[in-house]
Every structure is written in structure tokens, then in C-alpha cells.
């Protein structure tokens, strides 16, 4: 009897181990494609209430952009990269002016919506012909939280704890809580992009995080990624380094204060830590950290980018 029970115990230990391995594989490795995104945008994804060709930002046409290592200018898109050093941290800011919200796009890893589908920000940016890209909200690491990209709703399961950023088809930023807005209501808002990460850093020019605010159960400064609106079709994409000898990282409050000094009216925190990456015209601009403090790009679910 004792021997049989001992064998039973060993068998249970084996089952427990195998189940645990499966849980880890299912969470981190096994890719599940739920929707394949068409490689060319569908008509329904095009913003309808803004003209495709907006005001001329510079004299150059889209076919003859003027590009330097820190700037990009053509008829519809103007990007200027500036590097700052605040709170012992390198911060990279891309100031963007676009003629239409059409050019503020998002992309999924491998052009597929699902779980554990990942690519580096660089690869996604290159595959989608981006001019500038930052990592998105890493929707694939969570079971809940609205996912609406380029006008298409992919995930309707809300997370009441999440504060979302909605970019309307007019290009304006709006902050709301998923507890108060159902997925069906998003279409009535003319949502173009929705990010479910947060929290909001600035609302109507005022800082909306307190000094101790952090993402979920984090407690320390980290690399950060944020997106902000300054004015009509005028945005900032911000990535700050951290977890390195050179850069300590920013708290959410420090990031919010920094964005306020740059004149942002609405700002939103995207996935940070090892995910934080800014890519411009073929190069990674910041020092992304992965696997502890190793400088390398992490594979993520999605990017926000500027491009045609």
C-alpha cells in the first residue's frame, strides 16, 4: 500500500510538472493567431472625416522627402528627433506633425492579431514601411483590454482597471476608463486607435498621475514609452532609457512632468521596461534593455508608427 502511494505521489509530481510546463509554454511561447490582418489597409480602416491630403507641412512632396539622421520632412509628414537628459536618464523625443491621422498607424507583429505573436519593433517598422515607430501597448501579454487598431476592433473584453487612450479618426486623443465605456461605444466615438495600458499622464495639460503612481505592481523607475498630443495633428512620441549604468529611468510622474514642459496636452503611458524602443529611418534610436540589463530589442506584439 505504502509503495503504491509513493508511486502515486511521484506520478502526481510528474503531472504537476508537465502541467506547469504547459502553462508556461501557453503563456509565453505557443503562438495563436486569431485574426490575420490584411497587408493592405481596407477601405473601412481609412479615416473618413479627415481629408487624405491635408495641409502642406513643407515644400517637399512625398516622393522626395528630405531626410537626415534626426529629421524627416515631406509634403504630409514632419518628424524631428531631439535627445534630452533629465533625472540622470536619456530621453528621446520625436516631434511629429502630420497632414492627416491616416499617417498615425499601428501594426501587429507578423501582421496577425493573437497571443504570443511577437516581433521586434525594428522588424515590424521595416515590414510596414514605417518612417518612425515606437512599441505599442503589448496587448498580447494580457487576456483583457480593448484592442482597436486602424479602425478595426479586435478585442471586446474590457478590463475595468484599465485607463485607455483612444485616438479618434480626427487624430485627437481622448482618455477614458474601460469601466465606463463598452467596446460597442467605441465605434460611436469614431475610434481610429485604442491602447489599453496606461495610465494617462496628462489630461487637458494637467498631470494626472501622482508621485507614487506606477504600472500595476511596479515600484521603481524604468524605461518608458509614451505618446502625447500637443495640438491638432501634432504629436510627441517619447522613449526614455533605464536599467543601465547611464540611465536610471523615469517614474511616471517624472515622465508626465517632462511631457508637460514640452507643451503636451494629453499624454499616455505605453508598455515600458524592456519593450521601450524607438526606431527611426532604419535605426533604433534608444538603448532598449532586454533580459535584465542587456542592450537588445525585446519582441513585442505591436507598434505605433508614422508612415504611408
Amino acid at each position: 500500500m505504502e509503495r503504491k502511494l509513493r508511486i502515486g505521489g511521484l506520478l502526481y509530481a510528474l503531472v504537476l510538472t508537465l502541467f506547469t510546463v504547459y502553462v508556461l509554454l501557453d503563456t509565453f511561447v505557443i503562438a495563436r493567431v486569431e485574426t490575420q490582418v490584411p497587408s493592405t489597409p481596407q477601405i473601412s480602416t481609412t479615416p473618413t472625416n479627415v481629408p487624405n491630403e491635408g495641409p502642406v507641412i513643407s515644400d517637399e512632396g512625398p516622393d522626395t522627402p528630405k531626410i537626415t539622421d534626426r529629421t524627416y520632412r515631406d509634403r504630409n509628414i514632419s518628424i524631428t528627433l531631439t535627445e534630452y537628459r533629465e533625472h540622470d536618464t536619456d530621453i528621446y523625443v520625436a516631434e511629429i506633425k502630420i497632414a492627416s491621422a491616416d499617417y498615425l498607424k499601428t501594426a501587429f507583429a507578423k501582421n496577425a492579431y493573437g497571443r504570443n505573436i511577437k516581433e521586434t519593433t525594428s522588424d515590424m517598422a521595416e515590414n510596414n514601411g514605417a518612417i518612425l515607430a515606437i512599441n505599442g501597448d503589448y496587448y498580447g501579454s494580457r487576456q483583457k483590454g480593448y484592442v482597436l487598431r486602424n479602425g478595426i476592433l479586435y478585442r471586446m473584453d474590457g478590463d475595468p482597471k484599465r485607463q485607455d487612450l483612444m485616438i479618434g479618426k480626427d487624430g485627437d486623443f481622448r482618455i477614458y476608463s474601460e469601466a465606463n465605456v463598452s467596446a460597442n461605444m467605441l465605434s460611436s466615438f469614431d475610434a481610429w486607435q485604442v491602447f489599453s495600458f496606461g495610465p494617462a499622464l496628462l489630461q487637458e495639460g494637467q498631470i494626472s498621475v501622482d508621485k507614487n503612481a506606477e504600472v500595476d505592481q511596479a515600484t521603481t523607475s524604468n524605461p518608458r514609452t509614451a505618446i502625447a498630443q500637443v495640438g491638432e495633428l501634432h504629436y510627441l512620441m517619447v522613449v526614455s532609457d533605464g536599467r543601465t549604468d547611464r540611465s536610471e529611468g523615469l517614474s511616471l510622474y517624472q515622465l508626465a512632468t517632462f511631457l508637460q514642459t514640452l507643451g503636451a496636452s494629453t499624454a499616455y503611458n505605453l508598455d515600458g521596461g524592456g519593450s521601450s524602443t524607438m526606431w527611426f529611418n532604419g535605426n533604433v534610436i534608444n538603448q532598449p534593455v532586454n533580459h535584465g540589463s542587456e542592450v537588445s530589442e525585446r519582441k513585442v506584439s505591436d507598434i505605433v508608427y508614422i508612415g504611408y
Binding site: 502511494l5 509530481a13 502553462v23 503563456t27 521603481t220
Partner: protein, 132 residues
């Protein structure tokens, strides 16, 4: 088979020490994991050591100190050990996912199975035994 009081005490002491060792290993693992998690914490990791400590060491110590008139039979004992193991592993895995910033519906299986095993062991232990 009936064990003498000294044999029961010896077994219980051994069990208490094994569970104590597991608790210490869990606490150590939690400390190391939290150290490298860039300030992201999880209560499931911090308190994973409590399952073997409260569920294993303390009852065994109780048996050593106050004696055990009716030691559990082999099957309830096995179910109980499996339950405590499932609670501990479930806690650590839930913590790993939380610290990464993700979750999985599968982790609820740990809690359900652990509860089932522990409760059934208690029920079996408390139910009247058949005389062979």
C-alpha cells in the same frame, strides 16, 4: 499497522524539517526572483513560502509537541502533500506571470485542484476508518 508514539514523533519531526527546507527554498527563490524583477513585485511570490510552512511545518510540529492520537492514514497524507505542493507551485507560477505583466486562466486550475486535494484529505482523515 500501528506506529509507536516515538516513531510518530520521529516521522513528524522529519516531515517538519522537510517542509521547513522547502519553505526556506521558496523564500530564497522569491528573494532572488524579486531582486531581478526591476522593482515589480507579486504577493504570490513573496508569500509562496507560507504554504509549506503553515500547511506542512506547523502541523507536523504540533504533532511533535502535543502528540498525535490519530495519525493520518497513507492516502489522506498523500492527498494533503499533493495539495500543499499544488498551492506552492501555483503561487510561484501566478507570481511569475504577474511580474511579467501577464496572466493565464490556467492558473485557476492550481487553486481548484489544491483545494480539492486538501479538502478531500481532511474529509478522508475525519471520516470513520474501517477496521481491517
Amino acid at each position: 499497522m500501528t506506529l509507536s508514539t516515538s516513531a510518530i514523533e520521529k516521522k513528524a519531526t522529519r516531515l517538519a524539517l522537510i517542509y521547513l527546507l522547502i519553505s526556506v527554498l521558496c523564500a530564497l527563490f522569491g528573494c532572488i526572483y524579486e531582486h531581478f524583477s526591476h522593482g515589480v513585485y507579486s504577493y504570490h511570490m513573496i508569500y509562496a513560502f507560507a504554504y509549506p510552512l503553515v500547511g506542512g511545518t506547523l502541523p507536523a510540529l504540533w504533532a511533535v509537541v502535543f502528540g498525535c492520537k490519530r495519525p493520518p492514514a497513507a492516502l489522506p497524507r498523500l492527498l494533503y502533500h499533493c495539495g500543499i505542493a499544488t498551492f506552492t507551485v501555483g503561487s510561484i507560477i501566478t507570481a511569475v506571470l504577474e511580474i511579467y505583466g501577464t496572466s493565464s486562466p490556467l492558473t485557476t486550475c492550481y487553486w481548484a485542484v489544491a483545494m480539492l486535494l486538501t479538502l478531500s484529505s481532511v474529509v478522508l482523515h475525519l471520516s470513520p476508518r474501517r477496521r481491517s
